[in-house]
């Protein structure tokens, strides 16, 4: 029964949710809505679980003074201070300590992390983008055309860039997306019919 009950739950849920995409009747839509609200509840519990896990992992690092433990202290400090300010002050008010930390600490940190990519991309372009053979040269030339066509200074190349994006690029992406979609359907069917059972902790 330990294995059969979860399989029955997955089968019934999977079939109902798949049917709800094709059957517009209100009864099946109500059942779908019920399952959807469960998904949100489980998601919220997962956030709680993540919070406990993050705290435990970093506390262990601090206690054992493992290399880089100081970063764990900073992580825990950030976690506690955002939680406390979030609970004490209304996050919807435009100016309070929570909003201050969000606007002037979190936001610039995120933006800085993303901006650093520009430096790494420049370095990678210099070191790795080499015309070693015909294929590499094709990629290199295409990349240069797209980069130039993307900015005002290379406006003359914009039509060629648009063609690259809308024809060869689109064909490639469409193939990838179709592959992902078909793979997803196959995996879903395997799970619904109990062929794929890795989610229960065994093959």
């Amino acid at each position: 029964m330990k294995w059969e009950i979860p399989l029955v739950i997955v089968f019934v849920t999977g079939v109902i949710l798949a049917l709800s995409d094709f059957v517009p009747h209100q009864s099946i839509q109500d059942v779908r809505e019920f399952f959807m609200s469960w998904l949100q509840i489980i998601g919220v519990l997962a956030v709680g679980l993540g919070l406990v896990s993050l705290t435990q992992v970093n506390l262990v690092k601090v206690r054992r003074k493992t290399p880089g433990w100081i970063y764990s202290v900073i992580t825990l400090f950030g976690l506690v201070i955002m939680l406390v300010t979030g609970f004490v002050w209304d996050y919807r008010e435009p100016s309070n300590p929570f909003q201050f930390l969000f606007q002037y600490a979190l936001l610039p940190i995120y933006a800085t992390m993303f901006s650093l990519l520009a430096f790494y991309i420049a370095s990678a372009a210099f070191r790795a983008f080499k015309a070693r053979n015909a294929l590499a040269t094709t990629i290199l030339v295409t990349a240069v055309i797209v980069m130039l066509g993307q900015v005002p200074v290379g406006a003359k190349l914009a039509p060629l860039k648009s063609w690259i994006m809308e024809v060869p690029n689109m064909a490639g992406f469409r193939a990838i997306l179709l592959g992902i979609g078909l793979g997803g359907v196959a995996m879903a069917l395997k799970i619904v019919f109990g062929i794929e059972r890795a989610y229960m902790g065994r093959d």
């Binding site: 995409d21 839509q29 809505e33 959807m36 998904l39 949100q40 998601g43 919220v44 956030v47 996050y91 919807r92 435009p94 909003q99 969000f102 606007q103 979190l106 936001l107 995120y110 933006a111 992390m113 993303f114 901006s115 520009a118 430096f119 991309i121 420049a122 370095s123 372009a125 210099f126 070191r127 983008f129 080499k130 015309a131 070693r132 290199l140 990349a143 240069v144 980069m147 130039l148 993307q150 900015v151 005002p152 200074v153 290379g154 406006a155 914009a158 648009s162 994006m165 809308e166 690029n169 689109m170 992406f173 469409r174 997306l177």
Partner: protein, 292 residues
């Protein structure tokens, strides 16, 4: 070793310094390069232009602070355009860190155009699991959002009283930095028949041209370039606009030219080194033949 052969060993800090200079200098000395517009950006702009006063657009803030440099000007441009045309705006923020940013942008734009919360726009806020929220809106806004961001029940908000689901809105614009954009196309467009436009980061845009060419979306704003084109069109139409994305395109132009220069110089160094290696190998072979 010649100068050309030394190029591949160039210290990466020199490259970083050049990138930093190329980013900072155009900010202080704007180049004012012309911004040609593309069909995908015109698609969204024209769609909103054709909406009459009282129409409704849902603007979804589906991005986190890391991409605010690209997504921020996009969201701000679309919001301002809607307010300029007296189009009602509903706003959602389905990314965890988006609500604070969205709130600031909405309040700034609303103050600029004298728009009233609950009458001209409604900020619905954040709910977890974007795909589920997007699907639920198809049934009723009140399922995922019983209240707006400020805690007011939807039925107490004048703008929302007659709004039930996608049938009551004209367009969804997802300003996104992740897969959420795809969910709007999958559910809002394909399942519920609501028109959708996307404003995404430049990296992501390549993926979404498939939707544009298949006419599944009415417009596409790719990265900062999309935001700059949008602002240029607003400027051309005599509307108020922000020139930050236009200046940003100056920076991007110089940066792209610099990266192309890096690629060229890197390849010169690569071929110089390969030629040296071939010469050395030929010399070694000749030496071995001489010894024999």
């Amino acid at each position: 070793m010649s100068f050309l052969e030394k190029i591949p060993r160039l210290d990466r800090r020199v490259l970083y310094l050049l990138v930093a200079i190329a980013a900072v200098v155009p900010m202080f000395t704007p180049l004012g390069l012309p911004i040609p517009t593309s069909r995908e950006v015109e698609g969204l702009f024209d769609y909103i232009e054709e909406l009459g006063p009282g129409s409704t657009v849902l603007v979804a803030f589906d991005f986190d602070p890391q991409t605010v440099g690209e997504n921020g000007p996009q969201a701000s441009g679309v919001l301002r355009h809607c307010f300029e045309r007296d189009v009602n705006v509903l706003i959602t923020a389905l990314s965890q860190n988006a609500p604070g940013m969205a709130q600031e942008m909405i309040e700034t734009a609303a103050a600029e155009y004298d728009k009233v919360n609950g009458v001209d726009f409604c900020y619905l806020g954040y709910q977890p699991y974007p795909a589920i929220v997007i699907m639920s809106i198809g049934q009723n806004f009140r399922i995922p959002f019983p209240q707006d961001f400020y805690g007011t029940p939807l039925d107490s908000i004048p703008l929302m009283r007659a709004k039930q689901n996608y049938d009551d809105i004209d367009l969804v614009v997802s300003v996104a930095a992740g897969w959420v954009a795809e969910s709007w196309v999958t559910y809002a467009k394909e399942r519920y028949g609501c028109d959708v436009a996307l404003a995404v980061t430049a990296v992501q845009a390549a993926q979404y041209y498939t939707f544009w060419n298949a006419q599944q979306i009415v417009g596409l704003l790719p990265g900062l370039k999309g935001a700059a084109e949008y602002q240029a069109m607003m400027k051309g139409a005599g509307m108020s606009y922000t020139d930050a994305p236009l200046r940003g395109m100056d920076v991007q132009s110089i940066e792209h030219l610099l990266i192309i220069a890096f690629i060229v110089v890197g390849n010169v160094g690569f071929f110089a080194e390969r030629a040296r290696q071939r010469r050395e190998a030929a010399a070694a072979r000749a030496e071995r033949r001489g010894e024999r």
